[in-house]
């Protein structure tokens, strides 16, 4: 009998604890909601890129005394929910934030699919949605349909074109041939990118000598790496998710894949990637990039490490923080939590952020890094849209 009651208490507290982790502060606050994966397939990524930046931003704003509004300074009250990487759970949590918790603003979700799925809710309640991890070719229609949505990382076409441009440049410098081995994870992300990239590569004069996909969560990638190696490519491109980014890199090291360019998509920019592989990944290309030399970025990365205990990643971490800076400056610029005014303010103004001056043209920001490369233990941006100081790209020279 006692065992059962103890169990029931434990179960109840687990359930209650998992529902909402928010600090309730008495008095006037600005309520900001956030729903993103803490468990489920995308949790690994959001734990590196998304959540730390939200916590860092809230911490810094509150340390300053809160947001400066017309009627005084108000601290941020953050309400967090775990969407379990499940769109149904995400929608319910977003609704709850809007109708029950009645938050003033919601931080845009993590993941293209989630941004698209929750856009109607944001639009219905008038929340500005400054999307970061949302890359899609449907941006023109989306901005027309949802006047409050903003995009900051570009479209699928610009994502794939950037890779093609970098490879074209390496070929034009006379250092690389025209054969590409391309693989993709059989998930919406990988499939879309592969489909977009095929015509772009062909148009740029490349020959795709190996073109295969693999299921998400494949435990053995060696047949793919062996097949790619057998096709004797000059460059290897993988539209991959974190587990396979790591797996394909491990396989490339084991098989000693001899290519002048090696690109894996998501998670190449993670600090863990650099830590696991050390010197072997010198010259590896990946999605994203940063310019870690500017004073603003240096200060940001230091603060990120001190406040959250983990290092920022080499891509969307900075963009996530920038999107929150934009929100903060828009709220303070308007001086109130009037969502319509804040949305309009975002459209009309330029913002000073850790990535420089950011502004939105037709709800799209045209300043972001596209391709990065590991050089000397640091992931530098080598190609971008509108960002200065791209480092020159280097060739991959073996895996030792």
């Amino acid at each position: 009998m006692k065992r059962r009651t103890a169990l029931k208490l434990a179960a109840a507290s687990l359930v209650a604890g998992s529902l909402a982790i928010g600090t309730a502060q008495a008095g006037d606050t600005v309520k900001i909601g956030a729903v993103a994966p803490k468990t489920g397939p995308l949790a690994g990524g959001s734990t590196v890129t998304h959540w730390p930046n939200i916590h860092l931003w809230v911490h810094e704003v509150n340390a300053r005394g809160g947001l400066k509004l017309k009627d005084g300074r108000k601290k941020i009250e953050l309400i967090e929910y775990d969407d379990q990487t499940n769109p149904g759970v995400h929608i319910k949590a977003a609704q709850r934030l809007a109708t029950q918790d009645k938050v003033d603003f919601i931080v845009a979700p993590y993941g293209t699919g989630f941004n698209l799925a929750s856009a109607p809710i944001y639009a219905k309640h008038g929340y500005p949605q400054i999307a970061v991890s949302a890359i899609s070719d449907k941006i023109p229609e989306l901005t027309k349909r949802y006047p409050g949505i903003f995009f900051t990382l570009g479209s699928t076409t610009s994502f794939a074109s950037a890779v093609s441009d970098i490879l074209t440049k390496m070929r034009a410098d006379g250092k690389m041939g025209s054969k590409i081995a391309m693989v993709n994870v059989a998930d919406a992300f990988g499939i879309e990118l592969a489909e977009t990239a095929r015509p772009i590569f062909k148009k740029a004069g490349f020959e795709i000598v190996y073109d295969k996909s693999y299921p998400l969560g494949t435990q053995d990638l060696s047949p793919i790496m062996k097949g790619a190696k057998a096709s004797k490519p000059d460059a290897f491109v993988a539209w991959s998710y974190p587990p396979d980014t790591f797996g394909l890199t491990k396989q490339a090291i084991t098989q000693n894949l001899d290519v002048k360019a090696f690109y894996t998509a998501v998670a190449t920019c993670f600090p863990a990637y650099g830590k696991v592989f050390g010197k072997s990944i010198e010259g590896n290309l990946g999605a994203g990039g940063v310019d870690p030399t500017t004073p603003a970025m240096k200060a940001y990365r230091k603060a990120h490490m001190e406040v959250t205990g983990k290092p920022a990643d080499g891509w969307a971490s900075a963009n996530t923080y920038v999107s929150l800076q934009v929100l903060e400056q828009a709220i303070e610029g308007v001086g109130s939590v009037d969502r319509k005014a804040v949305t309009q303010y975002i459209k009309d103004n330029t913002f000073k952020t850790i990535m420089g001056d950011i502004d939105f043209v037709d709800q799209v920001s045209h300043r972001f890094w596209t391709v990065g490369q590991w050089q000397g233990g640091e992931f530098y941006g080598v190609a971008s849209k509108g960002m200065p100081n791209a480092k020159p790209v280097i060739l991959k020279k073996g895996w030792k």
Binding site: R4, T39, P41, A43, G44, T47, D220, Q255, A272
Partner: protein, 288 residues
């Protein structure tokens, strides 16, 4: 030849993943849907010992195995025993245990996220290529395969050549009859459940040397283990080994010769075919 060796290595990996669930479902009759989470927990332990203590993850087995044994024994006694006591027949027990372990899985994921964070964890251990008959294979996979062979071999010997092992097999075949010949079925089931959990955790530690995992990835492994256990015939160690090898070889062959995108389809196709023509699994006893 390359396909053969790669396929066998992969089969060894799959056998590690599935062996624990086989004992838990086949003997203790618990369909443990939290099996994958136990695997990830074992992998976390290996990751910890390697990155924090610079100790070989193979050595982590020495303390992961008894810890996992104890933890699974406690889980069986506290959470699953009440279900067993009140189940009127095996079907009800299976349904109850599916629901209970399903929820348990979520709780484990939450605990692991709270303790270790939701990040991916990966490390490079013995990642160098070894040349065998002209083809390169990762040393870590070969070591994991060797360990799988040793573990499965020891398990087989124990099950077929020792008294407690024979008792375990008896309970797997027919729990009522086993009770009639003086076997303490409850105790043997607890032993099998705990041993199964311990094997799974050890398997997790071994595969963490070449796979990248995070706290939420357990469910993928539970699904794979389930296919292998059912395909091989519930309760029989030989069935798991054979099924794992067949699956490993088939997936590698399809990935190399046809298309890597069809590996999952091929795996499930084999699963369906086996169930159509031999519903009790390859080594299972036909249901009367």
């Amino acid at each position: 030849m390359d396909i053969l060796i790669t396929g066998i290595l992969l089969g060894g990996t799959y056998a590690l993943i599935a062996m624990g669930l086989n004992l838990q479902y086949g003997v203790a009759r618990i369909m443990n849907l939290a099996n994958g989470e136990m695997l990830v927990a074992g992998a976390f332990a290996a990751f910890w010992t390697y990155t924090a203590g610079q100790v070989s993850p193979i050595l982590s087995i020495l303390f992961v195995a008894p810890l996992a044994f104890a933890a699974n024994w406690i889980i069986y006694r506290i959470i699953l025993m009440p279900l067993i006591k009140r189940a009127k027949n095996q079907g009800q027990l299976e349904v109850d245990s599916i629901l209970a372990t399903f929820g348990m899985g979520f709780a484990f994921v939450g605990i692991m996220v709270a303790t270790f964070g939701a990040d991916y964890f990966s490390y490079d251990y013995l990642g160098d290529g070894i040349l065998i008959i002209g083809n390169t294979f990762a040393l870590s996979r070969i070591v994991a395969f060797a360990a799988a062979v040793v573990i499965c071999g020891l398990l087989y010997l124990w099950l077929f050549w020792s008294r407690p092992g024979t008792a375990v097999r008896a309970v797997a075949v027919n729990p009522q009859a086993a009770g009639l010949v003086g076997i303490n079925v409850r105790r043997v089931s607890a032993l099998a459940f705990a041993l199964g959990g311990s094997l799974t955790a050890v398997g997790g530690g071994l595969i963490s040397t070449f796979l990248t995992l995070d706290a939420s990835i357990g469910v993928l492994f539970t699904m794979k283990a389930l296919i292998i256990v059912i395909m091989g015939g519930v309760g029989d160690v030989r069935g798991v080994i054979v099924a794992a090898l067949i699956l490993g070889l088939a997936e590698t062959a399809v990935a190399t010769l046809i298309d890597p995108g069809l590996t999952l389809a091929a795996a499930y196709l084999i699963f369906i075919l086996v169930l159509l023509f031999r519903p009790q699994g390859l080594f299972g006893k036909p249901t009367s």
